[in-house]
Symmetry: D2
Subunit: 337 residues, 4 copies
């Protein structure tokens, strides 16, 4: 970290600053060049909150040279982390297809759709059980029953499952869920992250709708630091001024994340766009950009469903994505099982 | 709600849609004008998720005429909600001054600062105990001890206190905290909101850094619907492209919220700007815009504090804000006690 | 357009409103349902500024049912517009590759790079001549000389060229430039658009860094309305809170634009990401998303160039993109020539 | 500027970099500390485009210590710039009130409104003549006639006028306009800025709807560098995710700009909010935040005007703002004449 000092700082104040850093196990070297005063810091600089520093009255600016995260960094661990879920490897050569309904609505619904998506090429089944809804008047999910039906579908169809956890108290309830999803709204729920860092299950960490890549990696750092190395990142669209799509899918972060971190990176084109017509092109684009997998909402509803999310596609479209997606994956040296 | 239909919709499909709405206790009236087909919906339309509607294959667009929230609305309850905390009335004629340190750091620190801010005009003491920090390596707050020291300061100095709750499990620990703050990162933590709607304590609900006014009001609706009418809203800056300030303080929503809802509206200029030099002008601006109170970070640290947040001001500056702020409040027919 | 009226509006005021619309050739039909008062407007509603309407004291809300644009709309003209530039067809089956340096730096540089990119698969040469730079101290382009060198390269290598025009006065200077680019900062420079609508040359209209799809289409409408049907749209990244990439490439608008308009849609992954390492994955993703072409910055600089934009790639990487891109294009029924 | 180098850079490459900088009159000092390699640059570093630098293959990061602008900086010129327009001083002790209609609609309208706003406390008259409208179908302003009527009102009522210039060719037409406004959409129209830097008239430079403070100051730098010192900055709201107001008024930049630059800073609450009900509270807040003046839209339309902008207030409300605003100005040591 490089710290630029106030021009009027005295020798005594510089020494106090250096001592302050030393107390935190940080070495500080003073440089005076052309009337600019700098401190060069080394050691475990991830311990230092640069915002706090920047506001010390003798400090003008604090600039990181190294990253504020460590364990998730590609510098710390060069080889890709591959998360194993049953027979499925996430982060390896194969692009992993995760599909299923927005919400588990009934035992029959999730059973039927599970069979259909598996047959069409899904490697993992997804389904919402506790749904975070902006209105208290909207359907909030089946809760514990939803989890139960999802687990039954998993057992019957022999496919791993993923579902979003709403809060710490439900960890036990999710004991048969293979991958626990932390939703976008919980990406910076640090108490939840600390609790999940202590369990022996892969965590699918979705980017918050207005969180930076750096914040996403810092949240993942909470999980790794706490002891859980099996973390999967997921881009699901960010909030911008553009309202023609529900969110703005930020595909550029896929190759950027692959460079910065060893963790797998998925893309959720359904929530990102909020529009079923955009799911296929964005799925193919995500694969072309280097994503390790996709999270796609699929429904099986033949009639007019008032509660049906507009971003869900039908099973035959999903099958089409898997087929075209496999060919694109092949072009960039990957595959879909 | 007004629903525009696909031009090719058949009579039979229209009837099915109308029946679908009727099953949800919503009356739907069909209108065909100039080859445009519309459904006008009335009844408890806050039950309807318009996003889901908009994506039904026979529906082009769904537009709300009434608000998606109800209990928090000025239409539902015209008179201002005044939240009583000890002798302090929030939402009444007086602009309420809430001040204190970013974090409770020790028994002595919070005791000293409590005395100072009370003397300088603070009506309520604030202090962070569990701190949501983006890095697991940063100081996370004193936790339970912090709460203890804060409560001791409250008792000694006879001043109400507010502190941010990190998760549901801590509700009991906060039993002597007068106002429970839901932080920006938890504004859409609906499990937490549901739990807090069941307790008998005022809730200070901060706007999430990328949440709309509508979403803020919907989160407040969770609290009122669950049974807790004592909700205080707080603007604390939103995330935008501009990085010269930590967040962009959105003062325009103060008068807009006062029009839309009967709930009190506070402003936190410290977190919004992240820069102590901007706290005074933005505090005065917030009062001029019609805020019901301010949340200001004040420190008492005479030396170089590496951990000190750059947005904190010294006690004498706070006193200055109270004095000028009172004069501005008087001009718009309000006061500061 | 649907207009919801104030509940207290009188019969007389309604009649005045209806008359006001009639004066603008708009038919208005009044509907009173369940104590909600509406006006349904039909006719050339693109003439109505709904913002102005929404603020009339008797009007609560004005909602468009049809689009605010007309000539650019897929509803108005169903078949794709194909812009012909020499032998190159933009908007047809082929994905068009446009490549070249950020700036024309010398006669030799543009000559050399033109030969190289043409050989590697470029269909059109790009090169900046007047550069809009945020600082008056940065290199502003070669101006008229740059245009001259670009035209010479065009003639020698028999390849069409595109360059950005800075202002109306330069239109004559650009007479041998095949496609005139309107840069992101000029997307809403309506005087420039009006002038360009009168010339007989294709216009490449880049999306402004914080403009919506609707605004992009409205700017294109200025060109078509003025008489120039040969408009090519281009997504080049939008400004968001995320600073890890220069802009956020909004690929989802590619399939959305293809649905809304008949005009061709290009993508510029170089300016969008500002990072050469992301250009290849984002180029492939753009093709997979359905783009009609790419605009890529390519440099030929073998040494340390301090003025070199970080988003430029080397020629061999460009060749690689063309080759992989062609295979991806084939999978979705397209080609690269 | 501090440049961090790639760890694998060789001695020879470092020397080449240093020589490259020297060729641009920049001194570079190499430092190797704890295996981190740095170059410290001094001299006229505003000449260096740090984005370009950051992407050189041997350079990791380039960080400015000094500002990228110079002439507009408070460091360069400490005392406030006061722009004199007739008898009105902008940037001095008085908060300047600029008021008038959105558009000049007729000779009579601007004459009447000019008299009314002057009487109510306006120091300068504003009026749109060439209106940048997102749709080619909307009213585009009276153009040359509008300028003529505005100048007539100026002469009759003896009040300075300000109007927005659409493009370079109109400079002559604006010869009797006292202050030339560069609209938000033209803030980065550098050809226009260069032309206006050569004329002897104050320029009112509005912040672009998605431009940073730094970019605003860089655009002002174009004007000062070209020879025009009479530049007035104006905040008019930025584009964010929040759509409940037309733009988000960013008042925090007022005190920040006053610290960074010696130029006057105005606020336009009408365009920022797009809502007449918010104009008064935001006007008072702007004064409290330290603005040097306000730009307010006022209309005199007693009947239902379909073309009337929703952000315009009536004259009596404007008078009210002037009166309360004066009292608030007094509290912070300023005045309104």
């Amino acid at each position: 970290m490089i710290v630029t000092l106030n021009k009027n700082i005295s020798k005594k104040e510089i020494d106090e600053l250096i001592k302050g850093f030393k107390d935190k196990q940080i070495e500080a070297e003073f440089i005076d060049f052309n009337n600019n005063k700098l401190l060069l810091l080394f050691g475990e600089t991830e311990m230092i909150d640069e915002n706090a520093l920047s506001n010390n009255e003798f400090i003008d600016k604090a600039v990181r040279v190294s990253t504020p995260y460590k364990l998730v960094s590609r510098n710390f661990k060069e080889e890709d982390t591959i998360v194993k879920v049953g027979d499925v490897l996430i982060g390896g050569k194969d692009v992993v297809m995760i599909a299923g309904p927005c919400s588990v609505e009934s035992k029959e619904q999730i059973d039927e759709i599970c069979g259909l998506v598996k047959e069409s090429g899904a490697n993992i089944l997804r389904g919402g059980t506790y749904k975070p809804r902006k209105s208290p008047y909207y359907f909030q999910g089946l809760g514990q029953d939803g989890v139960k039906y999802l687990v039954e579908a998993k057992k019957k169809h022999a496919i791993p499952i993923v579902s979003e956890i709403p809060s710490i108290e439900k960890i036990d309830e999710f004991k048969d869920v293979d991958i626990i999803q932390v939703g976008a709204r919980n990406m910076q729920n640090y108490e939840l992250l600390k609790a999940l860092s202590k369990i022996d299950k892969p965590i699918l960490l979705k980017r918050g709708m207005s969180n930076t890549i750096e914040e996403l990696l810092m949240s993942a750092e909470y999980l790794l630091k706490g002891g859980n190395p099996n973390v999967i990142l997921c881009e699901r669209g960010i909030r911008t001024f553009e309202k023609a799509t529900r969110n703005t899918l930020d595909l550029s972060i896929v190759p950027l994340l692959k460079k910065l971190t060893h963790l797998p990176v998925l893309v959720d084109p359904s929530h990102a766009t909020g529009n079923w017509e955009l799911v296929e092109p964005m799925s193919l684009a995500a694969i072309a950009s280097g994503a390790d997998g996709l999270l796609i909402e699929v429904h099986n509803n033949p009639t007019i469903a008032l509660s049906d999310g507009g971003q869900s596609i039908k099973v035959d479209r999903f099958k089409n994505i898997v087929e075209k997606g496999r060919k694109i994956a092949n072009i960039i040296g990957r595959d879909i099982k």
